[in-house]
Symmetry: C2
Subunit: 226 residues, 2 copies
Amino acid sequence: MENHKCIDCEFKSSASKILSSEEFDILEKNSALVFFKKGDIIFKQGALSTNVAYLRTGIVKIHKRGVSHEKILRIAKSPSYFGIPTTFGDKINQYAATALEDSSVCFIDSNLFRNFIFKNGKFAYELIVELCENELNDYERYANQSQKQVPGLVAETLLCIADKIFNSSRFNFPLSQSELADLVGTSRESISRILSDFSANKIIAFNGKELNILKRDVLEHISEKG
Amino acid sequence: MENHKCIDCEFKSSASKILSSEEFDILEKNSALVFFKKGDIIFKQGALSTNVAYLRTGIVKIHKRGVSHEKILRIAKSPSYFGIPTTFGDKINQYAATALEDSSVCFIDSNLFRNFIFKNGKFAYELIVELCENELNDYERYANQSQKQVPGLVAETLLCIADKIFNSSRFNFPLSQSELADLVGTSRESISRILSDFSANKIIAFNGKELNILKRDVLEHISEKG
DNA sequence: TTTAAAGTGTGATTAATATCACATATACTA
DNA sequence: TAGTATATGTGATATTAATCACACTTTAAA
């Protein structure tokens, strides 16, 4: 465990900004800052969940074993919590998390976290708002999953990654095509064909791992129509 | 608005059991008990969300407009909250709710609800636990959606309704086949064919609207294999 | 630098399900 | 009770995407 001052952290969550100095002192003594390399597993599905994971820097994929293979549920970027549902929703981790790039994670003792919720209503409220926003996002994607065809889903996912993760139309794509397939819910061959089509039509362009969205309006149209 | 004593309500939420007498008095003055008939819309997608809906008695479907048609996100049975995500996650309702049978709903002023969260950590904690459990359920269904074939999804949905809504293998099915199709994410013709198959194989039996699960283990197997 | 592993591309085939059109059955309303 | 609306059943066809097999490219490790 590395020495660190939580109160000085420049990657605080919205919720934790509410905490008092005393609460920060306690937080510091009951949490651990751990560094992960790209590809490292941060926590495993099926393990006991005894702390809350907070992504200080980096990007992680939240994934779980489906009927036949892995499903990537969502991508989380820093700074944000990414383990609250599996810590407070069940005693065992219902999903796993893996670093998509070098990342730093704070593990916070769940009893301490629970105490913050009990004692700090504003902190609790910020968490509730974040959980509600996540649920609405899930509902949106869930509705789209069954009503859009695969190209629409791919377009939607590319736009989502550009806007929500990188806030840019040009970025290093954090996933392999197999992983993108697991996120979208299709096969890696379909992904290959669709990305080739998008490239051939000059909608997007890959330069190595760097993706550039050339015709955002066309991608939005494909996404909306499904 | 009908006179009612919230503290005497036999359908309290887990969260509201935490409230004090004073809090119950305030709750009573800032909420409305409304009755809905089967088919009535409880709140609409796109409307402003200014209160929290609590399902006191009955069953409702949570649904939203997808790309091409309605998607039923989930079924909620009493007693439970069914509007928290859309009230605290956004200013506008991101989904709608409709009664599947005659129901009674308490509408609670969202500012009051927020104050309960701020002032009552245990109340907030119960809500967070419920939101986390819902998110885990969403993740499970979301993973299954893309990895199971339609018969597996139908089997899974029938078992879910039996266990989570009616807690029985025999019950009045609350949905039409079109609605079941909207919940599962398929076409009503596929539902008709699959239910006929299940009936022909004596896995389930319909007697009018009453559904009887005859071979639960077979249905579970179909659900698991997808 | 070479070898091995992982990732991607592509063509052909198969499978699953949507869609369409229409008929029949059931439920609801006047 | 009769008429209307909604729900369901069914056959045929079309569409979409998965699967399979294999080859090629890129990345990583020895």
